[in-house]
């Protein structure tokens, strides 16, 4: 397996980041997951954290080096994550059950399998065109499909944040399982939260991300999304993966899993982000203090001959 991957989660202009993202891979399988904790509800980030952690752990346990039954893995991972959130709410006697959207994608034998609940999306981009993407479980999407509103009205509709499926919450999630897709060389898979896609049309997203150097394009894409989010910018998260077929020349940034042991799983789970109000993120070390004093005294003596 060979691929180039980029993941990043940003806080936007919110006080906390309720998005959680992770990717893990063994020699022959790769998992990506994006969860967007629902801010209107209590403890949205807890729901997202539980879901991502649980799903990553399950992958680490089962993908040695491949997952035996992929549809079963996806459905069990999602339903059990849902129940893990409910258990947490019961255990801590929370007033409301935390909720999160979820999108996860498993690649094995050059085929992508994905499932989602809510409005975090997966895009498959091939040769500069949108091959397919997930349909949001949102009220506006449903109204659009019923012909009640136009595509343009979906962007501005007051109910655009209303979802009818998510993990956590009172009802069992409605999960959409996509038809597996064989990946071609240079296919681009994008998983993102609504903060990242909300202010961009599909063709804009493709134009920004589908560039030769993914690792350079992805942060620029997030910059643009953040810019458009303006003063109220939501949390925005992205995992972007460029697939490389076997036998094609690879670039220095490409991850190749061919040399991994059959039992190893590599995981990238973003650490639990600190809320912005928690204060200074930067430490001020002894040596920095000494250096600052030396600089100030040098300036004093330079200007006070």
């Amino acid at each position: 397996m060979k691929f180039t991957i980029y993941q990043e989660s940003r806080i936007g202009k919110r006080r906390s980041n309720q998005d959680r993202i992770a990717y893990c891979y063994s020699r022959d399988a790769l998992l990506m997951v994006v969860a967007d904790g629902m801010g209107g509800h209590l403890y949205g980030e807890i729901a997202a954290q539980i879901a991502v952690q649980y799903i990553a752990k399950r992958f680490q346990r089962e993908a040695v080096p491949t997952v035996a039954d992929i549809p079963l893995f996806l459905s069990r991972a999602l339903i059990n994550a849902h129940h893990a959130i409910l258990d947490y709410a019961t255990e801590k006697a929370l007033d409301d059950i935390p909720r999160t959207t979820i999108v996860l994608c498993l690649i094995q034998e050059s085929t992508a399998h994905w499932a989602h609940a809510g409005d975090s999306r997966l895009y498959l981009i091939r040769e500069g065109n949108l091959k397919t993407r997930t349909r949001d479980h949102s009220r506006v999407q449903m109204m659009f499909e019923q012909g009640l509103i136009s595509a343009a009205a979906m962007r501005t509709h007051p109910d655009r944040n209303r979802l009818y499926s998510c993990l956590g919450g009172q009802d069992l999630p409605r999960i959409d399982f996509a038809r597996p897709m064989a990946l071609h060389h240079d296919d681009l898979l994008v998983l993102c939260s609504d903060g990242a896609w909300g202010h961009l049309q599909d063709h804009e997203l493709i134009a920004l991300l589908d560039r030769p150097d993914l690792l350079a394009a992805a942060p620029l894409f997030l910059d643009e999304a953040e810019l458009r989010g303006a003063a109220t910018c939501d949390n925005l998260s992205l995992i972007a993966l460029r697939w490389h077929a076997d036998g094609e020349p690879i670039q220095p940034t490409t991850v190749s899993t061919d040399t991994l042991g059959a039992q190893t799983v590599t995981s990238r789970l973003e650490p639990f982000p600190q809320p912005r109000s928690a204060g200074p993120a930067t430490e001020f070390s002894e040596s920095e203090i000494e250096q600052a004093i030396a600089e100030i005294n040098a300036a004093i003596h330079k200007y006070n001959p």
């Binding site: 200074p280 203090i289 600052a292 200007y303």
Partner: protein
């Protein structure tokens, strides 16, 4: 100002090469002392000691920083260094002068030249509305020279107000307290929002609606001038943005002051940053442009010192 949480260093305490005499003032993040150096000259020493953290009890010397406050303490120290860095580069008769910067007792100290006089705030309180135009002009023309030097180093003061303008016994001003000063060219916006003084802070400092620049300090200069005339600051910018109850200086003080000074004040106090003088030089030019029947102020300083002494003598 909340009550003093930290005990000051005792009188007679030997701090490095300086002997502490007494506490002069208390700030949110520091205590300022009068001290004497080895040659017996007076200096002002600013000790970094955040008042919000209870760090030093009576009889203690070394502040005790609890583990949970360590990060906040270090962060504040970083800001204290910013002030030192800003001031060390500046040498101007109308700017406070830093002489030394050192570490001791687990905290940091900034040694400054000691100035004799009193703050403009005290003068305004004492002579509520009765400060003479000639005095005000002379003071501010010199102060603006200092501010030009600050801006020339790509720094902004960001906390200009009468209590940060010290008037020496000879009547010349010194701009104090660069605790809010920030490098403008490097960061664009201050990394941390200082506590601003309502009435003297510009609207863009409060809501970041526009980039900060020389025009930001100029708003505060305008507000300080206004306070010299009216005895108090104009309404806070935040309030003015909702409903502007600002009474233009040109209308409020027309009886006692020249139209040209009053128009300049109103110009500085425009809410729109672009509508204000864009540089200190532009402001100085406006202030120096005198009507023919008025004597040129500022240069005629001989009798001013005496006047100030008279003010002080009355106190």
């Amino acid at each position: 100002m909340p009550p003093q949480a930290n005990a000051p260093l005792p009188s007679g305490y030997q701090l490095d090469q300086y002997r502490i005499d007494r506490q002069l003032s208390l700030g949110g993040f520091s205590i300022v002392y009068l001290a004497y150096d080895a040659q017996g000259s007076a200096v002002a020493i600013k000790e970094y000691l955040p008042n919000a953290l209870d760090l030093r009890r009576d009889g203690q010397i070394e502040p005790v920083v609890l583990a949970e406050h360590e990060a906040a303490f270090r962060y504040g120290m970083k800001c204290f260094f910013e002030e030192g860095r800003a001031l060390a580069k500046l040498m101007h008769p109308n700017l406070v002068r830093v002489l030394n910067f050192f570490r001791a007792n687990g905290t940091v100290y900034m040694v400054m030249r000691f100035e004799r006089g009193r703050t403009l705030h005290d003068l305004i309180q004492k002579h509520r509305g009765a400060l003479r135009e000639r005095f005000i002009r002379g003071l501010f023309i010199r102060l603006l020279n200092g501010l030009r030097e600050v801006h020339a180093h790509k720094l902004l003061h960001l906390d200009i107000k009468p209590s940060n303008i010290y008037v020496r016994t000879d009547g010349t001003p010194v701009l104090l307290d660069f605790g809010a000063a920030r490098q403008t060219a490097v960061s664009g916006q201050p990394a941390l929002r200082a506590m601003y003084t309502p009435g003297f802070a510009s609207p863009e400092q409060l809501d970041r609606s526009a980039p900060l620049g020389p025009w930001t300090d100029i708003y505060s200069v305008g507000a300080s001038l206004y306070a010299c005339l009216g005895g108090s600051a104009p309404p806070p910018a935040s309030e003015r943005q909702r409903q502007d109850s600002y009474q233009p200086a040109a209308a409020a003080f027309a009886k006692d002051h020249s139209a040209q000074l009053l128009e300049t004040i109103d110009w500085c106090l425009q809410l729109d940053p672009l509508a204000r003088p864009q540089s200190v030089y532009a402001l100085q030019k406006a202030m120096a442009r005198c009507e023919p029947d008025q004597p040129v102020p500022g240069t005629l300083f001989t009798d001013l010192g005496a006047k100030i002494k008279a003010f002080i003598g009355r106190s």
